[in-house]
């Protein structure tokens, strides 16, 4: 297995090179004047005479594609990801600032996604076509078909606008004062809930949690609804298998049949989907983050793409490709652990 893991990690630079090369190719299709839009959001910037020529020269916007790409690679070797024009900070700082926020949101969202999605999927399959199954399926269909921005706004409106229970953002104003500007609060992990516990500050922990609940509900509902459908189909398929019938005919009790014989096999495709879904959530939380003013990675990446901020887009692609590869690897390893028939060679 170790050799397999090493082999997969060795592939990482090649894949990253391919991804960045493709993005560079796309950006090279734009003329220098189009690329200038990253630096000129408003025509008022043109008030400075000769600014167009000076900006093109300054940011090497007219460099030919190979030169631009080679210069970028040289910078990457020096671990310099460049400057994000959309985040108004270095790309590395932007990632360090935003990735923990998104990671925290996704980590907390995984719990309901996995638990609720798999649990309800199994129940739904076991109670195939009865009232409980129908109710769960309708709930799942609503979750699956409801656009995130509609559901998110609904959650925001009810739980913040009317009840004032679950405010947007990552922290309340008083808590921001402590976390961002107080020397007494140390950020060890940049996951605020964890840092709050490590600092022994329960009120910050509760405040951060309070801010997380609404985005978690929004983000996880759509995901668990999808996972539920996968689990249900897989479970139904497994329950019809011969070995399940054999187990039943041998008098094995139903609980053991479902949870020991059927569920373990049914979860194999679910793990693939769940693994990829979690990685996807890290890059695809844009709408949830926007609605709840949650300062994460997704919103920044989308803005950067819209504004042709090549440095940010390429760095985001780098990060995401790495996550995808590592995530894939974890899924493969989980396969081997869950299914003894699978051997990683």
């Amino acid at each position: 297995m170790l050799a397999y893991i090493i082999r997969r990690f060795l592939l990482l630079p090649i894949i990253i090179l391919g991804v960045t090369f493709l993005i560079f190719c796309v950006f090279s299709l734009l003329s220098p004047m189009e690329r200038l839009a990253t630096y000129i959001h408003d025509p008022s910037t043109l008030k400075n005479p000769q600014s167009v020529e000076r900006l093109i020269n300054k940011y090497h916007l007219d460099d030919p594609f190979p030169l631009g790409y080679i210069n970028w690679l040289k910078r990457i070797v020096r671990l310099d990801l460049g400057w994000s024009q959309t985040a108004n900070q270095s790309v590395w700082d932007a990632i360090c600032q935003r990735f923990p926020a998104t990671l925290e949101l996704v980590l907390y969202s995984i719990i309901p996604v996995i638990l609720v999605g798999i649990w309800l999927g199994v129940i739904s399959a076991v109670h195939h076509n009865d009232m409980l199954d129908q109710t769960i399926r309708v709930t799942a269909i609503i979750g699956w078909s409801l656009p995130t921005f509609v559901f998110g706004l609904l959650v925001l409106f009810i739980f913040y606008g009317i009840l004032d229970w679950l405010p947007p953002g990552r922290l309340s104003s008083w808590a921001q004062d402590i976390v961002y500007a107080s020397s007494n609060f140390h950020s060890y992990t940049h996951l605020i809930t964890i840092d709050a516990l490590l600092n022994g500050n329960i009120s910050i922990f509760l405040d951060a949690l309070r801010h997380l609940i609404a985005p978690i509900i929004t983000l996880s509902y759509i995901s668990w609804a999808f996972l539920l459908r996968i689990t249900r189909s897989s479970m139904l398929d497994t329950l019809r298998k011969d070995y399940v019938r054999t187990a039943r005919s041998k008098g094995v009790d139903e609980h053991t049949v479902i949870h020991l014989h059927a569920k373990r096999n049914a979860l194999i495709p679910v793990i693939t989907v769940a693994g990829m879904m979690i990685i996807g959530m890290l890059g695809g939380v844009m709408i949830t983050e926007t609605i709840f003013t949650y300062p994460g990675l997704g919103f920044w990446a989308a803005t950067a793409a819209q504004q042709l901020d090549s440095g940010s887009v390429i760095s985001f692609a780098l990060l995401f490709a790495t996550l995808m590869i590592v995530g894939n690897l974890i899924v493969d390893i989980s396969y081997a652990l869950i299914d003894p028939r699978v051997r990683l060679e």
Partner: protein, 619 residues
């Protein structure tokens, strides 16, 4: 069933009751919270040219003089003890010398005491810094009669381009040794000579008499903020020397290499406590502020991109002030505990421009001939075409229906609130299909009316107001003559920018926001031969402007008598009207939204944002 309904009703009533209690008292009494869009680019006053940066810098730094409250024409002293005037003898030599006496015992946020050296250094550092696309061009015009420090260096060294001065053309690399003397002279013979310290005075020596100088130096833009020399040098900013540490290494840096990008040390009422880009700016009251401490202890400027979230923050009292786009204004007007202040004239306008000569390679002019399937590149050089379109736009309908009444008309490039604005009816084009038809029939010796035309007009995608404007123009054009086929097209900003710069747009619509409240910041932009927009009108227009516009703008700039200046600008407005140089669509009217517990807000259209020093919170 009835019982269930009753229970649901009770629950709803409880929720509403709970909600109504939620904003009964002042939330966060020590902190003023603004929920807005976007965030600052930089905390360096010499970099910042966006309003979000300007707002923070405005509250952290002071300038030599300030606008008096809501006025855009009266000044009060700030870090200077007096506003220079000819009468008090602080403006001398026919407007070529300005003297500022510097206030004593003013503290910077780190405790350093303000000196005249700090003032001189701030101006010189701005001139050295001069980033591409930045604001410092405004200081170059009056002080050195040029637009950038690179122009001076190029002239002194006798090279064609600034990059020619450096090895391999890399302006961040090594200077060619034979140009060192010329580069040193840039500071010794030019930069050092424009500002000098004399005792407690700082004296500005202008290269030309320049009416708007005090506007440029006043507390509205960041570029003339006064920074602490000692502190700036400690941070790694230019050391104030001409040749010891090579000034050109501090010129036009990239943002990441600017040592003052994320920090501040001004003399203003607030200290920058924390800036998390695109998320939050946290300011804290400076208790040693020379005008006395601010009323609120903390300020938070939060970036909230989603409108619904901003609205709910305002509703629940988590935001005291919020940015509300015009289309949502009616939603907050109904909100309890919220105050909406309307009819605030902005110093900006939106104009559709007719380039007299379009780039002949333009893909947007069909056949490139007047054959009904396109237009010639010099289509708009015919005054009747321009007048025809000027009559064709339904100004009042646009203001009522699209701008929801939150706009007014301008007769020319000068907006209301600026010297030279005129509401003389004879200077306006009114919507008239008959007059438009008459003009179009005269255009191109009647050929246009007979053969028709076909071309695209553009707006930048996402700007619905501009889309509506070009849609209206296209619709009415087709209505008066079915052979007039004008197709509105939305373009992403990047493509729009490119098309504008390459002069391929037949009509382009663009806006302008004031840097300082003076007509010189408007008329040359839209009408001058070197104007920021009008320089893209082609050679024919350039020749016209050199002959008819530039002499008048130069004369107005040097004129110190306001009445005489106003007369000159009226003359320019008449030219703008008679020649129908552009289609002056509208000047937006602004609004302000705040919780009713916010006290002390006032409006000055030239400010880059909220003056938090004036605000407090109470029932």
């Amino acid at each position: 069933m009835k019982r269930n309904l009753l229970a649901m009703g009770l629950l709803l009533a409880l929720i509403m009751l709970f909600a109504s209690f939620s904003f009964a008292e002042v939330k966060n009494p020590d902190t003023m919270i603004l929920a807005t869009i976007g965030g600052p680019e930089s905390m360096d006053p010499h970099w910042a040219y966006d309003t979000a940066s300007g707002e923070v810098i405005y509250n952290c730094y002071d300038n030599l003089i300030n606008y008096k409250g809501e006025s855009t024409s009266e000044f009060v002293p700030m870090l200077a003890t007096e506003v220079p005037t000819v009468e008090n003898g602080l403006i001398k030599d026919d407007g070529l010398t300005y003297i500022f006496t510097i206030r004593k015992d003013v503290k910077f946020h780190n405790g350093d005491i303000l000196t005249p050296e700090d003032v001189a250094y701030s101006i010189k550092r701005a001139l050295i810094f001069d980033r591409a696309g930045g604001p410092v061009w405004m200081l170059f015009e009056p002080l050195l009669a040029t637009h950038s420090i690179e122009e001076i260096a190029v002239e002194l060294a006798g090279v064609e381009n600034y990059s020619d001065l450096f090895e391999n053309g890399d302006t961040r690399g090594e200077l060619k040794s034979n140009y060192k003397d010329a580069m040193v002279k840039v500071v010794t013979d030019y930069v050092n000579k424009v500002v000098e310290v004399d005792g407690n005075n700082v004296i500005f020596h202008l290269a030309q008499a320049y009416g708007p100088l005090l506007n440029i130096l006043a507390h509205s833009g960041s570029w003339a903020s006064i920074i602490d020399k000692k502190w700036a040098i400690e941070q790694g900013a230019w050391d104030g020397q001409a040749d010891i540490d090579t000034w050109w290494k501090y010129h036009d840096p990239v943002c990441e290499n600017d040592p003052l990008y994320a920090i501040e040390n001004g003399t203003g009422p607030f200290v920058l406590k924390k800036w998390v880009p695109e998320e939050i700016v946290m300011l804290e009251r400076f208790d040693d502020y020379w005008q006395g401490p601010a009323k609120v202890k903390n300020v938070q400027i939060k970036g909230v991109a989603e409108w619904t979230t901003r609205k709910l923050m305002l509703q629940t009292g988590d935001a005291d002030l919020a940015y509300v786009p015009i289309q949502y204004l009616s939603e907050v007007k109904r909100m309890e505990g919220v105050r909406v202040i309307e009819n605030l004239p902005t110093l900006s306008n939106v104009v559709s421009m007719f380039p007299w000569t379009i780039n002949a390679e333009s893909p947007y002019i069909g056949s490139g001939k007047l054959d009904g399937k396109g237009i010639p590149a010099d289509f708009f050089s015919d005054v009747h075409v321009r007048r025809g379109f000027s009559y064709l736009f339904p100004y009042d309908i646009f203001i009522t229906k699209i701008a929801k009444g939150q706009a007014i008309r301008n007769s020319g490039p000068i907006p209301k609130g600026i010297l030279g604005f005129s509401d003389d009816p004879s200077l306006f084009y009114d919507f008239s299909i008959i007059k438009a038809m008459e003009e179009f029939k005269l255009a191109w010796d009647g050929e246009l009316w007979e053969k028709g035309c076909e071309f695209n007009i553009f707006y930048n995608e996402g700007n619905d107001t501009r889309k509506a404007a070009v849609d209206m123009l296209a619709t009415y054009a087709k209505m008066i003559n079915p052979k007039f086929k004008i197709t509105p097209v939305g373009m992403p900003w990047s493509a729009y920018l490119k098309a504008f710069l390459t002069e391929t747009l037949p009509i382009f619509t663009i806006g302008w926001l004031a840097d300082y409240p003076d007509p010189h910041n408007w008329v040359p932009v839209y009408m001058g031969s070197k104007g920021d927009y009008s320089s893209y009108f082609g050679e024919v227009y350039k020749e016209f402007a050199e002959k008819n516009v530039d002499p008048l703008t130069e004369k107005a700039l040097k004129e110190t008598d306001h009445v005489k200046r106003e007369e000159i600008y009226k003359e320019l407005l008449k030219i703008a009207h008679d020649q129908a140089i552009s289609l002056y669509i509208y000047q937006p009217i602004g609004h302000h939204v705040e919780r009713a517990w916010v006290k002390g807000w006032y409006y000055n259209p030239i400010r880059p944002g909220v003056d938090f020093y004036s605000l407090s919170k109470s029932e």
